[in-house]
């Protein structure tokens, strides 16, 4: 996408709504589509101040497995270029990496991270290291990746379950980033320097409203007058989406709505809220649920049990609920017992 398009979208949005002075405008990109000039245009014309680069791996063999068209060499170059261009205090460059790729060992993974940090350090961009996303490779049944994974029958590999090997990779990365960088683990797969957390992603996890534009995009908005929260989903098929955009009464975007019932709203707030280290502040959450008490969907006996196991933190007033570092790693299992 050329920077000029970004520019016109940004100015259109700014013309419609009032925006805050520290507005985050984020762009996701592949390393292969980035050059210094492009980066500069994004920053200058597009007023982009957050850039996430989907690098995935710095090992060529792993990139090949993942079907990426970039090399580790140009990935590193793009990242360092981005650091160079997005160098102001309010700029953030993030780098997405993956672990748990078949064949990858914990040693290789940690060596990869250290190698990256060494390079950032050696090129004197250490202060630009403000955000990272480290994802465990997940397999969706039915995808080509799933089939490859099943066929490759790697030892200790079960696409359905997290093995001890991937658990060790996750834990090792948490520990390494904690000791070696200034980044804080703030969500399951995300690490940031304080103040550089991804604002738009936090919106999902905190249960705020968001508008999704484009085919397949999702949105949530609250109708406070009716105490209703509305889900929007756009056509996934491009043709149908274009048709819809052209018709006038559909207002160009929205195609399907689903009302939530209140219990669903509350459960969703818990599920997304416990993915962040900060956890859930029930005062805020109750506001988002139109004043209902979100605590009613929580099994507090289970909370008590998880508190004793040091997997969750809370206070006796039940004003907040927070996963501990260990709790975060197993939050899906916790949620099964936690939600009523």
């Amino acid at each position: 996408m050329p920077a000029s398009s970004i520019k016109s979208i940004v100015s259109l949005v700014k013309g419609c709504v009032e925006t805050s002075p520290n507005l985050e405008i984020a762009l996701e990109s592949n390393p292969s589509s980035l050059s210094i000039e492009k980066l500069q245009q994004f920053k200058a014309d597009g007023s982009i101040n957050r850039l996430s680069i989907g690098i995935q791996s710095f090992q060529d063999s792993r990139l090949k497995f993942l079907g990426r068209d970039h090399s580790s060499e140009n990935a590193l170059q793009s990242l360092l270029d981005a650091y160079k261009v997005f160098n102001s205090d309010r700029d953030t460059v993030s780098c997405d990496l993956m672990f748990g790729i078949p064949g990858q060992s914990e040693t290789e993974w940690i060596r990869e991270l250290n190698w990256l940090f060494d390079n950032i350090n050696d090129s004197s961009h250490w202060n630009a290291l403000k955000h990272m996303s480290l994802y465990q490779l997940t397999y969706e049944p039915g995808t080509p990746l799933w089939r490859i994974a099943v066929k490759s029958s790697i030892a200790d590999f079960n696409p359905l379950k997290t093995s001890d090997v991937t658990a060790a990779m996750y834990e090792a990365a948490v520990a390494l980033l904690h000791t070696r960088t200034n980044l804080r683990h703030y969500e399951v797969s995300n690490y940031a320097m304080p103040g550089h957390e991804s604002v738009h992603n936090m919106a999902y996890w905190k249960g705020w409203d968001y508008i999704g534009v484009g085919p397949g995009a999702h949105g949530r908005y609250s109708d406070d007058a009716k105490s209703e929260r509305i889900k929007t989903m756009k056509f996934v098929k491009l043709d149908a989406y274009i048709q819809q955009c052209k018709s006038i009464d559909a207002n160009g975007t929205q195609i399907r709505k689903k009302m939530y019932d209140n219990v669903a709203i509350m459960k969703e707030l818990i599920v997304v809220g416990l993915r962040v280290k900060q956890g859930i502040c029930f005062e805020n959450a109750n506001n988002l649920a139109f004043g209902a008490d979100v605590r009613q969907v929580v099994n507090w006996d289970a909370v008590e049990r998880f508190r004793k196991l040091k997997l969750l933190a809370s206070d006796d007033k039940k004003s907040f609920l927070q996963p501990t570092e260990r709790g975060l790693a197993v939050i899906d299992s916790i949620l099964l017992d936690l939600l009523l």
């Binding site: 994802y135 465990q136 490779l137 997940t138 997290t162 001890d164 991937t166 658990a167 060790a168 996750y170 834990e171 399951v188 797969s189 992603n201 999902y204 996890w205 968001y210 999704g212 397949g216 995009a217 999702h218 949105g219 949530r220 889900k231 669903a264 459960k267 969703e268 599920v271 997304v272 993915r275 049990r305 998880f306 196991l309 997997l311 975060l328 790693a329 197993v330 939050i331 899906d332 299992s333 916790i334 949620l335 099964l336 939600l339």
Partner: protein, 645 residues
Amino acid sequence: MKFIVRVLRVGESRTHIDHGKSTLADRLLEATDTTETISTTASGGGNKANQRVLDKLAVEKSRGITVKAQTASMFYTHPVSKITYLLNLIDTPGHVDFSYEVSRSLSACQGTLLLVDACQGVQAQTVANFFLAFSENLAIVPVLNKIDLPASDPQKVLRQLETAFDIDSSANVLQVSAKTGLGVPALLERVISDIPPPQSPVSKTEPFKALLFDTWYDSYVGVVCLVAVHSGQIRKGDRITSHHTKLSYDVISLGIMHPEQTATPSLSAGQVGFLHLGMKTTRDANIGDTFYAATTSPPPTPFPGFKPAKSMVFAGAYPIDASEFPKMQDAIDRLTLNDASVSVARESSTALGQGFRLGFLGTLHMDVFRQRLEEEHDSTVINTAPSASYQVAYKDERKVQGMEWNENFGRNVKIIRNPADFPEPDELGNVEAFYEPIVVGTLITPVEYVGGLMELCGTHRGEQLEYTTIDENRVLLKYKLPMSEILTDFYDTLKSRTQGYATFDYEESGYARSDLVKVNLLLNGHRVDALATIVHRAAAERVAKTWVKRLKGVVERQLVEIVIQGQVDGKIVSRESVSALRKDVTAKLYGGDVTRKMKLLEKQKAGKKRMKAVAGGIQLPQEAFLSLINGVEDSGDSSGGKKKK
């Protein structure tokens, strides 16, 4: 339909499991136009030919065995005399665990077809059961089945019949194929000539009197009663009285099983049919009860009723979700209506809450009952490991609650059907003796496997009573065995060691003194009462070790480390652990993923409903309790099932 009132009943009685009773029933129903004939000789008809219409239960279809006796009425016109007869057929189970069904059915029979597989010959069950039918004074029509198979050897089997039962092989024993229908017309003629009509059929003008010999629950009409009419006649709207409850009912509808419920204007002496009486509760229907015309005065002498079944094995049954206890009570009430051989008592467990202690005739019976609860009544049950019923004699009886008089020992004993009731370590000093139930097992095996079976019985504390060669290559063994020994993997091992060729049957044979101990399992230091078992001291450590290993095999990793320990006499003798789950979290969850995640969560939560939290939140799968006794691989289908190896 017009027919000569000469009524016969055919009990197609106890032969060995799999000899083809239900398949033959299909052919008989077809030959009498009760069901549509399906081409069995055509190569494509294979599947349908094997439909076994009288195996009506889902469990019978899935396991391929009959567990419930089923009745069907058929009209048969003799080809020569052109007289039409009403025949009542009862297809009975072959497996020893369902023998109660057979003994019940015999009361409504005048004759029995003794079906013997012409390939396999006389089996352990054939021996045991021939004499039962014989003792009931029933006409016995021996029939060789499966003669279509190339491997069949009718001559050899005829010789076996002669040696075993003194059946004259020259007496023109019928040879049929239940699969192809070969010989079935001749069999029907033989039924008419060899099986007598009911003794002194009493005239229609006599007052109505009938034996209630089966009941079941139908979700539309409620309790359905199956009766054998002894005298008189009954019509819709007639008023009848139950001898047992003294309650009276107006007959809402009635008819015969043809093979499904088919309304008829009346039922008369000699007929078997169903009645809808609008009974309020399942408790009002009692197998063996006598119904009579409400106007009969004085009330007639009732039928003697049925001997209650004697439970051999006991197991706890608990709802997974404690709130489902009332629903489970309902399900059990309805199912025991159809299976009176199950004994039911309430019990409670610290680990599992409110539940029941159910008594069964064997472990296959137990498995089938649990499966029926799930399939027919949507009630998911935690089944604890089965246990025999033990007895304890005490030195000072005053210290003990719940003693019962034991006729055979001539003293008071305490009966223990649940390992939780076993004396605690501090009470053991007061125990004078433990007694365990003993069975006499009959094994028939090809001679080459005798060594293996003798060893098997040896390791199961068996004591040989008899060794008979029944023909050039088969041997009959009789062993005295503790009941508890055959509750475990005994039957499966027997089948696997003999490639499925050996057969086993047993009958109870009193109690014997024994050195018993209780094995406890502990989860993270908490004793779980529902996981305990009672064993002979010599086996205690081995059991404690294998059970701990097996439990480890079925417990999934959870949020805490789980330490599993086996304890005998208060001493820990085995230990395994399951390490805590380290990571279980979705890597990416952004806007578009939330809906899917919520759906997945609901699905997983539903899956968790089959888990039971015990001892401080440790979750055990429903099968965990039962898998202990048979090992993990065997849990769906424990001992006694029809497994062909």
